[in-house]
């Protein structure tokens, strides 16, 4: 743990409100961006992001510093999202459980790819992914989040993160080829 991070945590533990304000300012961007990518309703996303920081505030006295602060915060984000979308949190990641094969011939005409509508379709398709996949896809493309952060937050080895990320994107491609055409 970096000394500045350690100092910040210690100050927060001692009840220094300015320190906690600093902590919120430091992480609010990533936390909100990550939550907002899974929760379409902006007001709800704000509320859930605030919940994350309330849990951080309550949990800081018990935070032992074994993981990085950012990793711990991302874990809280995943927990909060799991509570919000329990259906997705328990969805299977096993490809064999999914009807994952393209139901449309890939060679079929698909002019919609690449246009602006595609962004909306992509967003809807991401919302259908299991939560772990959502966090991977949403987090990986956020500036400031690294493979290592995702691996630690999701409690996965690095290699598994890459494999799951590819699987998540494959499932996205299949969803876009079928449900969201």
């Amino acid at each position: 743990m970096r000394s500045t991070e350690h100092e910040l945590i210690e100050r927060c533990r001692q009840g220094d409100e300015t320190a906690f304000r600093e902590l919120v300012d430091q992480y609010k961007g990533l936390v909100f961006a990550l939550v907002a990518r899974s929760i379409t309703n902006r007001a709800r996303a704000e509320e859930l992001s605030q919940d994350v920081f309330l849990k951080v505030h309550k949990g800081l006295p018990y935070f032992r510093g074994e993981a990085k602060l950012s990793t711990w915060i991302y874990r809280i984000v995943i927990n909060v999202l799991s509570q919000e979308r329990p259906d997705l949190a328990t969805a299977s990641l096993d490809d064999r459980d999914q009807n994952d094969r393209p139901r449309v011939q890939p060679a079929a005409d698909d002019r919609a790819f690449g246009d602006l509508v595609m962004k909306d379709r992509l967003h809807k398709a991401i919302e259908q992914l299991p939560l772990q996949y959502q966090v991977l896809v949403n987090g990986h493309y956020l500036k400031g989040m690294r493979y290592e952060d995702l691996a630690e937050a999701l409690n996965m080895p690095m290699g598994t993160v890459k494999t799951h990320l590819h699987r998540a994107k494959r499932r996205l491609r299949h969803l876009l080829e079928t449900e969201y055409r």
Binding site: D25, F53, V137
Partner: protein, 158 residues
């Protein structure tokens, strides 16, 4: 058959984390299906990279701090309520124990004089009040003690 073999690798090819073997590259070059799949995967990759990054509202930190204060206040209220209930229960225990002790030592006896009660009921309001002075006085003393204890505990906490 090769298309099925390549299918699980399309995303890795699209994000350049996997280099195709010469044999696979030759297949892709002549296979419309695989070429299209890779193109789609690259489109998705590109769209994911270009997604907007939502920013929280300017007052986000302030809102979090307000909720922290609100949470703390709720917790303190719960502690206060628990403390007051504990004090009340403690006083009740002391009173009951004291009365029990006095009764067991013969300092307190409970007799029910039905005739006196009937007579008391027959007298006016003043008479009834006078007969309850002892009870009222005891209640007042207990209430005062509870208030003093509460005040003392609050002062000590501050």
């Amino acid at each position: 058959m090769r298309c099925d073999d390549l299918e699980p690798l399309i995303e890795a090819i699209a994000d350049d984390s996997l280099q195709l073997s010469a044999e696979d590259a030759a297949h892709v070059a002549t296979c419309a299906n695989c070429t299209q799949r890779i193109e789609r995967a690259r489109s998705i990759e590109s769209l994911l990279s270009m997604r907007e990054i939502a920013q929280p509202q300017a007052a986000f930190t302030h809102a979090v701090m307000a909720r922290v204060v609100q949470d703390r206040w709720k917790a303190e209220r719960a502690i206060d309520l628990g403390f007051n209930l504990a004090i009340a229960a403690g006083i009740a225990v002391i009173v009951v124990a004291g009365a029990g002790l006095a009764w067991s030592l013969g300092l307190l006896s409970v007799t029910i004089d039905v005739e006196a009660i009937v007579q008391a009921l027959d007298t006016g309001a003043t008479g009834r009040l006078l007969s309850q002075v002892q009870t009222v006085a005891m209640s007042a003393v207990l209430l005062t003690m509870a208030l003093v204890l509460w005040w003392w505990a609050e002062a000590a906490r501050d």
